[in-house]
């Protein structure tokens, strides 16, 4: 066995919500049975984005806000890889907002986990796009990723979890990973992951989270219903969590981007570019130029 890079101890503050995500990602990957060398973790910039260093898998640390673009590039280059992008809410919803919106539309079968804590912890506590009015002088209303995700009609899996409930989080990640590994499309999971140093919301969130699946009329295949349930929950001062969207149509609909582009799932990185193998086809292509 050739020795290669090993994970190291996390750099997070004791008690950080991200530990819950780290544990859940490890457990879920094990439960789903992902061969570690086929797993690629794409980290964003910020505390949470270091997660790829703390697990024994392949990792790439993307530029601030660009982890989704890199993750989609990886998936399309080698659709056999299980690609998980993981970063913070500043990375995803501020500098990376353009890619955040388009990832739903693109629908490549990757999992994106946002560790949401309403703050920029690594730069010492500025307001994130999700910060409530009043936090660190914030005067702008908070951005809500679930409402936004629900507004884009694509074949996606959408959920919100809470680091204070690791069991549900693991179960949700298992479902999300099965969704992406089955080439059904894009999975987005926002985890409420408090920053214990700059915005310790553990106690507050534990009191306010509401599992939407327990609400009357819950139907994760109906965006209209879920949008209404989310809004109503938020209006009552609570935070909706749970699976927000689970497409009704079964596997095999070829909705995922990689299936549309590479139906046999042989991606560019696996394609043989040897000149001799392609000589005939290349010659034909070059002769077609006039």
């Amino acid at each position: 066995m050739v020795e290669s890079v090993k994970s190291h101890a996390s750099t997070w503050c004791p008690g950080c919500g991200d530990f819950g995500v780290l544990a859940a990602v490890k457990k879920a990957a094990q439960e789903v049975g992902i061969p570690p060398n086929e797993e690629v973790l794409v980290g964003g910039i910020g505390c949470s984005g270091g997660i790829h260093n703390f697990i024994d898998v392949n990792g790439i640390h993307a530029l601030h806000g660009r982890l989704l673009a890199q993750a989609i590039g990886i998936k399309l280059a080698n659709p056999k890889l299980t690609v998980i992008a993981a970063g913070g809410d500043g990375d995803g919803y501020a500098i990376g907002m353009g890619h955040f919106m388009h990832a739903f539309k693109k629908n490549a079968s990757i999992l994106y986990i946002v560790m949401m804590n309403e703050t920029y912890g690594l730069t010492k506590g500025q307001a994130a796009p999700t910060a409530p009015i009043g936090y660190e002088g914030n005067v702008e209303p908070p951005f809500d990723a679930m409402l936004t995700a629900l507004s884009i009609p694509a074949h996606n899996f959408i959920a919100r979890t809470f680091s204070g409930d690791p069991r549900t989080m693991t179960a949700t990640l298992v479902e999300a990973l099965k969704f992406t590994r089955g080439n059904q499309g894009y999975a987005f999971v926002e985890d409420l992951s408090p920053c214990v140093t700059y915005n310790d919301t553990f106690k507050d969130w534990r009191q306010r989270v509401v599992d939407v699946s327990k609400l009357e009329g819950y139907d994760a295949s109906n965006r209209h219903t879920m949008f209404r349930l989310c809004l109503e929950t938020m209006h009552s001062g609570k935070i909706p969590i749970g699976v927000m969207h689970r497409p009704k149509t079964p596997n095999g609909d070829a909705q995922a981007l990689e299936l549309k582009l590479l139906p046999d799932l042989i991606g560019p990185a696996n394609a043989d570019i040897d000149l001799e193998l392609n000589r005939e086809a290349y010659t034909k292509l070059l002769r077609s130029v006039g």
Binding site: M1, V2, E3, S4, V5, K6, H8, P36, N37, E38, V40, V42, G50, N53, D56, V57, N58, G59, I60, H61, A62, L63, G65, R66, A69, Q70, A71, I72, G73, I74, K75, L76, A77, N78, K80, L81, G98, H99, M101, H102, L261, L262, I266, G267, P268, A269, N270, A271, I273, L275, N278, R279, A281, Y282, T283, L285, L286, R287, V289, G290
Partner: protein, 596 residues
């Protein structure tokens, strides 16, 4: 011909004019076609190009359109000659004007014995060298739609220049047959109208006679198409881009070419996504490229630095246009070099390669893919609007000379023979042997943060210095791998030219014209712009008394870059600059050399 449409449009006047005339022979001719966008100026240029190619001439076409779908002044120029050419002819022999603006725009370049052919249903021109036919009115009344006036004008030109009637007609059939029977019929009618009108005018038929050429095996192509083809045969399999003039065609060609080879082309939401998707694909093991122009390149800059530090191979093609900001999207300039040579924040290596001809675009794109893969360094292909979009006849592309170099990609045995696999292992030439993610048995960590050999984030000062040198020293180690310059002209000549990109065409033409006047010269065509090729530039500059650096920008960017690395040649360097949005012509270069 047996179809009904053929009968309705039988060719007229095969015998030519009653009046005998000695036609002036043209072996290098230039036609400028101007009008409003939507007038079909590009169609006329395309039809003429097809005709000239049928007669074995070399063709070079350029266009000047505004950045809008319809309307505004648009013109197209076409040059046909017995000798290969890659530049616009200094003077225009025939100006075809669909509106008055075309006359205002084109007259200054009209040759002394040139003439203007204009659409007299749009405007009048009472000048001795101008002849008008009411193309739009005639075609409108006889074909039903005035838009076919462009084909009528082509018909008139065919009489004026004594074209072969069969070939003239075959061009229309080639072009419109596939569109629809109706389009073909209407265009053949319009052709006939134009021919009849021209034949009825005493001063038009056989005014000129175009010579035959021997360039029968040539293809008509563009730099953008050559880059796309080079990408495919060079093993490029992932492309992401965002539409931007004048680079878009690279993406459009690849959308056609790549899918049969398990290749992927994605139109990204912006250039930030495009370059980062390419980084992701390059990391995963695919040969990946994006193409853009100046504004997009500004957005991609952070990503290019990231790729260099993370040692992920990517290729970025920059089709330069007039900048800064939105500048002039459709117009020609070479003003991104200073930005590229000093790219981004922090120090990182990159190679800047610059093809000068369409054939070079094909070859150097293959080189770019190999170099990126081997050296794990971002490779920038520096192109320009004229090279990217002007069409030119050239030898068909071939696979001769194409090779695939994976560098230090480890196969299974090589990997298993290692005791420890490190993505950033220190090696004498800075290249770390590597495998893509997904390879059984090993992991990698890849990052744009400073890192140790394993890819763990590190701020250790000793490691920092070693890693900086590992990356930056590739600039020295790779030098002998990079495309060499081509030097043209007479070895003993004391007059030198230095240029890159599309200046190749006008500089070569200027050299030939100067040689005919007894002025020998040498031309150093730079094909690697960074790292600056001091090893070849020095002897070249030693051999000449002065060297004109020919480039399309305000601030002499290429000349300054050379001086940055070779300050001792300061006194020998002169600049020929043009930044009005159009390409240089040989006559302009000669005028500057002669101090005019």
């Amino acid at each position: 011909m047996t179809s009904p449409s053929a009968q309705a449009t039988a060719l007229v006047g095969e015998a030519g004019p009653a009046l005998a005339r000695t036609a002036k022979e043209l072996n290098d001719l230039s036609i400028l076609i101007g009008g409003q966008g939507g007038d079909g100026t590009l169609t006329v240029s395309d039809l003429l190009g097809r005709y000239f190619r049928k007669t074995g001439l070399y063709v070079y076409t350029s266009r000047n359109v505004l950045s809008r779908i319809r309307g505004g002044h648009a013109d197209a120029s076409i040059r046909a000659s017995r000798e290969p050419t890659a530049a616009a002819k200094p003077e225009v022999d025939l100006l075809l004007a669909f509106d008055r603006e075309a006359v205002d725009y084109g007259r200054p370049d009209l040759a002394q014995d040139g003439m203007i052919l204009f659409d007299s249903s749009v405007f009048q021109l009472e000048e001795s060298d101008a002849i008008g036919f009411p193309f739009a009115t005639l075609v409108g009344s006889q074909v039903g739609q005035p838009i076919y006036k462009n084909t009528a004008a082509y018909g008139a030109i065919s009489i004026l220049m004594g074209f072969d009637p069969e070939k003239t007609r075959a061009v229309i059939e080639d072009r419109f047959r596939r569109r629809s029977a109706e389009a073909l019929e209407k265009n053949l009618k319009a052709l006939d109208i134009g021919r009849k009108e021209a034949l009825s005018h005493p001063d038009v038929p056989n005014r000129w006679r175009v010579v035959q050429g021997d360039a029968t095996e040539q293809i008509l192509t563009t730099g953008n198409q050559a880059v796309a083809l080079g990408f495919v045969v060079g093993g490029g399999r992932f492309f992401a881009g965002y539409p931007i003039t004048p680079a878009t065609e690279i993406m459009e060609y690849l959308m056609r070419y790549l899918p049969p080879f398990h290749g992927v082309v994605r139109q990204a939401e912006d250039e930030l996504a495009a370059v980062n998707m390419v980084i992701g694909a390059g990391y995963a093991g695919a040969r990946a490229m994006t193409s853009t122009s100046g504004p997009g390149l500004s957005l991609m800059t952070e990503g290019i630095g990231h790729a260099a530090t993370a040692e992920v191979p990517i290729v970025v093609a920059d089709c330069q246009r007039v900048g800064p900001s939105t500048g002039e999207p459709t117009r020609h300039e070479q003003s991104d070099l200073a930005h590229l040579a000093h790219l981004g924040h922090g120090d990182f290596p990159k190679f800047i390669l610059a093809p000068g001809t369409v054939a070079d675009c094909f070859d150097i794109t293959v080189d770019a893919l190999n170099l990126a893969d081997k050296w794990r360094v971002p490779v920038l292909l520096l192109l320009d609007q004229a090279l990217c979009q002007n069409t030119v006849t050239g030898t068909p592309f071939s696979l001769e000379g194409v090779h695939i170099d994976h560098g230090k990609l480890l196969n299974r045995e090589e990997l298993e023979a290692l005791e420890v696999y490190k993505y950033y292992a220190f090696t004498p030439d800075g290249i770390s042997p590597h495998v893509p993610p997904g390879t059984p048995g090993v992991f990698s960590q890849v990052t744009g943060n400073e890192h140790d050999e394993f890819g763990h984030v590190s701020v250790n000062p000793v490691n920092r210095v070693k890693m900086m040198r590992k990356r930056m020293d590739k600039l020295s180690y790779a030098k002998s791998d990079l495309p060499l310059p081509r030097v043209y002209g007479e070895p003993g000549a004391k007059l030198g030219f230095i240029g890159y990109g599309s200046t190749w065409g006008p500089i070569r033409e200027a050299q030939e014209n100067l040689a005919r006047r007894g002025v020998p010269s040498r031309f150093y065509q730079a094909r690697t712009l960074f790292p600056v090729q001091t090893e070849t530039l020095s002897p070249f500059l030693d051999s000449v008394d002065q060297a004109f650096v020919v480039e399309h920008n305000y601030s002499a960017q290429h000349a300054h870059l050379i001086q940055e690395f070779l300050p001792q040649y300061h006194d020998k360097l002169r600049s020929i600059l043009k930044y009005d949005g159009s390409s240089l012509r040989a006559s302009e270069i000669i005028a500057r050399v002669e101090g005019r």
